[in-house]
């Protein structure tokens, strides 16, 4: 189910608001076998989110290559990268994970209908998954009616419903209390058990203790361990 990730001489710079370029990722080389987990570490501004965006194909590198499985993501067209994300990538952010106009259940069933290559999720399947996450009583509620922890669980449930080969999680527990964070972690672990490759950026000690990461990519020290 999982996919390998290979990053070759990856370079990414941004234009500063005052002008000039700031190099965020400079010549990164890394490789992660299928089904393994990696902790993306480093201080704020080190390029953790940028790296995730490069892996998912939301951004393109200035130099170097991103390979996910056999696919060279950095060489794909925009629509092909959209289809790639829809088919193979699950994404969980720190906040703003749900579409506010849709109900909890629709947040699982609707996005696949709007993208090419996504796995369709039936209403029954969405209901079953959400119930397994303890969200059975909130199926028809809108995101603003849920707590922050509940919203994060819905986001993980949506990622799980797609059975992604690769899960990218960017500080998924940062705004949660311990109980909510544990619930989200359990969901992530259940996805890992299914064999997905997991790339996670986090500062949360609970996550670092709970998940046995196979690798750490420290962008601050520019180390791959």
């Amino acid at each position: 189910m999982g996919v390998t990730i290979r990053l070759e001489n990856l370079v990414k710079s941004f234009t500063e608001p005052q002008g000039g370029q700031r190099r965020v990722i400079s010549g990164l080389n890394a490789s992660l076998p299928a089904g393994q987990t990696v902790l993306v570490d480093g201080p704020s501004g080190a390029g953790k989110s940028t790296l995730m965006n490069l892996i998912s194909g939301l951004m393109l590198p200035d130099e170097g290559r991103v390979l996910v499985g056999e696919v060279e993501v950095s060489a794909l067209s925009e629509s092909a990268r959209d289809a790639f994300r829809a088919a193979r990538v699950g994404y969980v952010f720190q906040t703003f994970n749900l579409i506010s106009a849709l109900t909890v259940r629709e947040n699982l069933t609707m996005p696949p209908l709007l993208s090419a290559g996504n796995r369709r999720v039936s209403v029954k399947e969405a209901t079953d998954i959400l119930e397994s996450f303890g969200l059975g009583g909130h199926l028809d509620k809108r995101p603003y009616q849920l707590s922050v922890g509940q919203r994060q669980r819905v986001a993980v449930a949506r990622a799980l419903s797609q059975r992604p080969a690769l899960l990218l999680a960017d500080e998924p527990t940062a705004s949660l209390d311990n109980d909510s964070a544990r619930a989200v972690l359990e969901a992530v672990i259940s996805l890992k058990r299914q064999g997905a490759t997991l790339v996670m950026a986090t500062h949360d000690p609970l996550v670092k203790e709970t998940l046995a990461f196979d690798q750490t990519w420290d962008l601050g020290r520019k180390e791959v361990v």
């Binding site: 994300r85 106009a101 993208s115």
Partner: protein, 445 residues
């Protein structure tokens, strides 16, 4: 090409977004609906006014009145009773026309006074019978000098009943020279059935009664002034009345005391003429226009001039209505762009879920289209509904028979402009969304 399931999902998501910001949605729809309501209302009423004008002019192809007036003024005052009379003509003009072989029917019109702001028109019973609607109450014969027949709405408006008595007032209420005529007390002798025309808002009496009142009035004024000047010790009303019966003497008298608008014995405001054919209408028009003191007007032509005159005002109202519509669309654009900025993060999220830039833009486009179509739909419903609801009131107040469900060219233009503006709005929103840098938004998270 987008598949049906995906298109359905796009429409569903658009509707969900519209539903999630109900207030903005309702305001946007109302903005277009109110603008279009205005367009529909103005169009329907304009259409009715023109139709009433044209229909009113068909009955009498020729009006003969005093020279010096404009054709439109003559028609407005003698057929529609909505303008001041332009002067007077000798009664002999009516007698000549009546005898003319080319004339099928001729009716005298003496526009003089009013009662509760309803015009009193001096004419004869033949005119009332010619309307062809019959009496709703009483008789239309105008057999006595004080008999008055009310138009249907005039009777409703003034609340008179048969045999009620009233005095006419010189001029309309509020006019500088307005005063009550005590010389003759009218008696309500009959009420016309509705004609759907200006006759509904008028009161008809014998033309002789108009002469009678003004002769009496002039005599009493003459009497008063003689007392004031001290130039005559005795001036009996009866003597003056008798004096006024002599036409030659009367003319001198009238010139001395009254302006050209004052009706006196043996004068009329106009004569309404029906000819045997349009050729005779043309002939008579030329003859009576060349004749000293008279003007003959082809009512069809003058009505067209009148309608063209109305059109000048209508163009302004149309432009205003269209401007309102465009402002409404701009308002929706602003609301939509504000909502897009609020939704940047969600749209970025959608991109991370693999939803394409085009699909996201399409949802925004559908939102704009739905707002416009709903606005147009509600505007049409409200516009026609409101004119349907107000039709009886417009008829009662203005004598205009509104057809609430008629489709006017103005309405067609309004709908076309609204839909076109909606399309432009949708495209602008779509391009705006398409060009948004949503990845930057994700990076910001």
């Amino acid at each position: 090409m987008m598949k049906g399931g995906k298109l359905r999902a796009v429409v569903t998501l658009s509707l969900r977004y519209l539903g999630s910001r109900r207030f903005a949605t309702v305001v946007s729809v109302l903005a277009i609906a109110i603008s279009l309501l205005f367009v529909v209302g103005v169009g329907v009423v304009n259409f009715a006014v023109k139709k009433t004008a044209v229909e009113g002019s068909i009955r009498y192809p020729l009006v003969v009145g005093p020279s010096g007036a404009s054709g439109v003024q003559l028609i407005l005052s003698t057929i529609f009773y909505i303008d001041k009379p332009a002067g007077t003509i000798p009664f002999s003009v009516y007698e000549e026309l009546k005898k003319d072989q080319r004339v099928v029917a001729a009716y005298p019109v003496a526009v003089a006074d009013s009662y509760q702001n309803v015009r009193i028109i001096g004419t004869d019973a033949a005119f009332l019978h010619d309307l062809g609607v019959g009496a709703a109450a009483g008789s239309l014969e105008l057999s006595a000098v004080d008999d008055a027949v009310f138009g249907y709405r005039a009777a409703l408006r003034t609340g008179v009943k048969l045999s009620d008595r009233f005095h006419g007032q010189h001029g309309m209420v509020g006019a500088a020279d307005a005063h009550e005529h005590q010389e003759l007390q009218y008696r309500v002798a009959g009420v016309l059935n509705p004609t759907g025309g200006p006759e509904d808002n008028a009161i008809y009496t014998q033309y002789q009664s108009v002469w009678h009142i003004h002769e009496k009035h002039m005599a009493s004024q003459d009497h008063d002034s003689e007392h004031e000047d001290g130039r005559a010790e005795h001036a009996e009303d009866a003597e003056h009345a008798e004096h006024a019966e002599h036409e030659g003497e009367h003319d001198e008298h009238a010139q001395h005391h009254h302006d050209k608008y004052m009706l006196s014995t043996n004068t009329l405001t106009a004569v309404l003429v029906r000819t045997a054919n349009p050729v005779f209408t043309g002939m008579l028009e030329r003859e009576y226009t060349l004749k000293e003191g008279t003007l003959a007007v082809d009512t069809g032509k003058s009505t067209r001039d009148f309608v063209a005159h109305l059109n000048k005002g209508e163009v302004f109202v149309e432009l205003m209505s269209m401007a309102m519509l465009v402002i409404a669309v701009i308002m929706i654009l602003v609301t939509l762009v504000m909502s897009l900025n609020e939704r940047r993060r969600e749209m970025a999220l959608m991109r991370s879920l693999g939803i394409g830039r085009f699909t996201i833009s399409l949802t925004v486009m559908v939102e704009a289209l739905v707002l416009t179509v709903l606005g147009v739909g509600f505007g049409l419903l409200a516009g026609h509904g409101l004119t349907w609801w107000l039709a009886p009131l417009i008829k009662a107040r203005a004598g205009v028979d509104v057809e609430p469900f008629v489709l006017t060219s103005m309405e067609a233009w309004g709908v076309a402009i609204a839909l076109l503006a909606g399309q432009v709005l949708a495209l602008v929103s779509m391009v705006w969304t398409y060009r948004m840098n949503l990845v930057e938004e994700i990076a910001r998270q």
